[in-house]
Symmetry: D2
Subunit: 368 residues, 4 copies
């Protein structure tokens, strides 16, 4: 009972990794938004397995079907249901894992919570569930573009200890997509790819940090005191698989500064209130101020590895497990579109909520 996200732009995902399929229902989408099935598919292609040599070879085309809520590429204002069939299923790979709990995976807790579990492929805890999020995120992005020219761009900032140099102010989607690891710093990207491949060879895995920037965000989004914009962003990305940490603006590093260093001085740019620095990360008092929103998310190393590990079975036996199946040695390259989707969903939801309470008047007030 936690498969719905958002209040005014509300999505509900469904589906296990094996079974009929996975998908999403979007309720509250404004009518007359133009978006093609291909634009949605494009985002799913960025997420799909088997897209490159550093992702799982599970080969799913992940072709989406729009079941409702649109006609001829235009939204109707009614619920949009999007479905992707499960295809390349190898349940036999999971034979061993039917009984053996994968360390740091959801196997044991799902059993404890529900007393039953879809064993193959991780069931509901599979990253395959994020297909629905990414499809919905594609529509949210379109709305942000249409309504406020708002851009959401995520990228790999760090893989283990290999950090890229990226300027949030200028980074482009083309740069992100220019390599398979999705780090806009091409030189760092090469080393990242090598490291991931090395891990794969060793049957091990690694994690890292994804950074996301929102540009042209309207001023005024965020609903204090609980639904502050950074709070909803934190929840959104921390609901993605494998996340361990979240930062907005100055983050943990900001705790080492004094107030007089950390505060963002105001100045006027024409009739607009701007800040000289942006340690606030585009959000003050829980409300967007029109500056870049910047956030970072920590992703742990993939839990499922081929290396042998100590574990137990669902019947309490002590055993070892060397996982079979096809798994990503590093989730970050495929997590980039997931982060963008979640951030876009939050912004779109808050755009509509702000419109409900305060009217249309505020739109277009972003700074950049």
């Amino acid at each position: 009972m936690g498969s719905t996200f958002g209040q005014a732009f509300r999505i509900t995902t469904f589906g296990e990794s094996h079974g009929g399929g996975v998908g999403v229902v979007i309720d509250g989408c404004p009518p007359k938004v133009e978006i093609s099935r291909e634009a949605i598919q494009l985002e799913l292609d960025r997420r799909r397995p088997g897209q490159s040599k550093i992702t799982t070879p599970r080969n799913e085309a992940d072709q989406c079907e729009i079941l409702s809520g649109m006609i001829d590429g235009v939204t109707l204002g009614t619920p949009i249901a999007i479905m992707v069939r499960n295809k390349d299923q190898r349940s036999q790979d999971y034979g061993d894992m039917e009984k053996k709990y994968r360390p740091s995976h959801a196997d044991a807790t799902y059993d404890a919570k529900y007393g039953i579990r879809a064993v193959a492929g991780g069931g509901r805890s599979s990253a395959r569930e994020t297909i629905g999020r990414v499809a919905a995120g594609a529509i949210a992005k379109q709305i942000l573009t249409d309504f406020a020219n708002t851009e959401v761009i995520a990228y790999v900032k760090r893989i283990k200890d290999l950090e890229g140099t990226v300027d949030p102010a200028t980074v482009t989607m083309a740069q992100v997509e220019s390599n398979i690891v999705r780090c806009p710093d091409g030189e760092a990207a090469e080393r990242m790819v090598e490291l991931i491949q090395q891990m794969s060879k060793e049957g091990d895995s690694i994690g890292g940090v994804i950074e996301c920037v929102v540009r042209n965000c309207p001023v005024g989004l965020g609903e204090p005191v609980f639904d502050k914009l950074e709070a909803d962003l934190a929840k959104a990305v921390m609901s993605l698989p494998a996340t361990k940490g979240f930062e907005i603006g100055s983050g943990f590093a900001g705790t080492l500064m004094r107030g007089s260093e950390h505060n963002d001085a105001f100045y006027m740019e024409g009739d607009r209130v701007r800040t000289v620095t942006n340690r606030s990360g585009g959000i003050q008092g829980g409300i967007s101020n029109g500056e870049f929103i910047t956030l970072r998310i920590a992703f742990k190393p993939t839990a499922t590895i081929r290396k042998e590990q100590d574990t137990v079975t669902n019947e309490g036996e002590t055993v070892t497990l060397a996982a079979k199946g096809r798994h990503d040695p590093c989730v970050l390259p495929r997590a980039v579109p997931m982060v963008e989707a979640m951030v876009a969903l939050v912004l779109c939801d808050h755009l509509l909520r702000q419109r409900a309470q305060c009217g249309d008047g505020f739109l277009g007030a972003s700074h950049e």
Copy 2:
């Protein structure tokens, strides 16, 4: 429109820093929970201003009144309304800030969002709003104790670069309350107090990190895929004023490890599934596994400082501001009970949600 938190144990806070008062309505509280007004007041006393030499001297007794939902110290199952009157108001202190936007504060964004603002004391964006959260948190804590013997303990882990040594497995509330900065490492605490006082003298401010541990958490709390336990915890604490970052378990440091290092191997302790290490921070797949839940929150340095800063007025004039009024040079000592409250509210909400879907059977299944 974001003043409600929780689904099954649901709180709604109200109130500005100046005006009739602040408070909370709690809906969904189980009937027949015993808790005295004094127990609630105790938590409010830990939060109240003027409690020590390192907090704002604004002197509010913050005495709470229970308006409904209880009789003779027992809950009725009906909404519990708790109110605290505003008393020690010095609106004149805000004369200067009526027009001048405080850098990195919510003044400018509230004006932009709503087109109107309660100027005195920060209005709704004041930390005074957290009174309602802390009062509700006291009841949530009582429920956690009664239903599952679950403990929630937060403490100051770091002030600026001064870090305390604390063992989450053994730390006690008495240790936390043994000094005014609420760091259980007494020696570090002394240096923290000195540093905060130094900042106060200089008209500046500092931030730091609060750590929180949950012991004896029942197995099975958390509602994938969006309302994962860590996602709701992240939202809960990131909705507190001045927060910039969140970590669960291994956090950002975990991104530097390999999967084979990071994974928590399983073993059996009697008939219970345990983990050797706890990098997961007590949550796997979004669901509590019965190990300690550990989380850390970054708090920025207080925005309102006496040092002169560049800013603008609500009419677009460029000015400087040296804030008057009585403000905390460091929010962390008073934020400790706020963090405990938010964490307890999340756990209590998930306890009731788990009970709705899966029944009473699961309770009492924690490990420690």
Copy 3:
């Protein structure tokens, strides 16, 4: 856990009939709405006990205090908390009823559900709870007036078998308030007053039907498929104490007609689509069409009567009960402002929801 109503304009009520007080928190109210405390009090005065010779003599001034969310009679966009203290409490009147369940009252079911109950005055099940609804409704009415010139007028249509003749198209608030029973048909009203007084003398009670008309409702309110406008109206009024039935437009009588008789033919009035008849009651497909919205609500005779009745105690003894205390022989005169409040709350909520999804453009599109 059912004390919150509305999605975009959301109210949470609290309070028992005896105790600190009753009230409401309103979240999502647009900023800069002008409404005085007196305007809210006016509605509470229409609801308060002791207002006339045909209501309970319990004498409560029911003076409201606005605790938050407004400054100088203008809303801030933050939660508005309104409280009324309980004053004229005679708990001793309930001595007998502490153990004896009042037939057709909530005593027994509250005990069964919660295992505990605020005995005096009916506790949470008291009509006193509706104070919060009426206060919030006053603000909702103001918003409807300001945003769309929408009027909500309810009145007593029938008391037992005494029916008034009222034209929904022209009835005015002044007519409703011209007599103590709130039936705009003065001649019928006199006979109704007599009948109520007769019942009071006999220690008995009566019910009847309240009708409500909404004029100038914007076209487009209502959110299919579950939150259709008539569905939310039905829930809203059926949540009032003592209600047993709901009709929209043609209601039950409409089931006796053929489609060709019942359908509302369309015609053009300038550039507006109008209907010749209005059996739809202003709503088609769950969405307002700009015609009058008309609804009727059945109220049962008051459960608490002085006549002796058979009942049991909370310990299972068979007894008789002749209720003491001060109770209305007929709830309808005081229920009129409650109905208006609930209808206004639904419309206001849907106005904001429509604005969220479809923007400001639609406003002002009503027909009359």
Copy 4:
């Protein structure tokens, strides 16, 4: 934005009458509930068009596919998605209605609200949307049976002025299904069928009243003050297409009685509190008391008829319309399973909500 219903047992429907398909996602379903696809299909077969000579000849097999949330006929506790493909589509039948608004149908209001509309078959406003509700209702019914042996039975009580004689205490599902009009009074049913066929011949339509009884409902369901059981039931059934009125227990007729006649005297049956009469309809103070829950719903005559009617086009021209396409002359026979579904969904939701707040202890406390 109104396609989600329920809080703890929450359904979201999607789909237009023409397009990829229609369906539902159910979130919050308890794990380990056993229900076959066939049991769900059985309810859909009771709802499907073309099932008898008195329904629309549109011939849809309406075969459902379970996409997720179940394995081998057992629920997993994860979201259950169920889909039905649209098959027998004759969009050409709607050529005329693309521009001409059907009187008393949703065509005009959808255009006004969203500015766009799926013309063929009524789009989202088609009764086809209720497929998702009925599928979800089948699962809700199973849960009610398994958890509390609660039965939900609806039947046609009246068609136009032809009323059947039915005893809610003893009526069986077999009796309801013994004839095509679903009125357990066989003699009345025959006359009803004749009347419906007569209307069909004349190109006209009729309505009537459906009654529903709930037997063995646990004591304690319902969440005052807004989510009272009768309030949620009212909303649930009033969200069905073509409904104009709702009654619980004594309904509108109860307003003609005195309190001393209307009140349900209590007596003891063993250790259980029972009522002699049941004018309350099984609900007191918004909470079930264990007696039969009885409710009645008014359905208007079908709006779409073949008889010529005055109307306008979406471009404002005055025209006449004689509807083509295949439409039910009377919706009631097919609405019976819809009413059962909505009532079961409300009860199931409240069962889980009661369990959240008050625990498992209360279950099994019904009277019959």
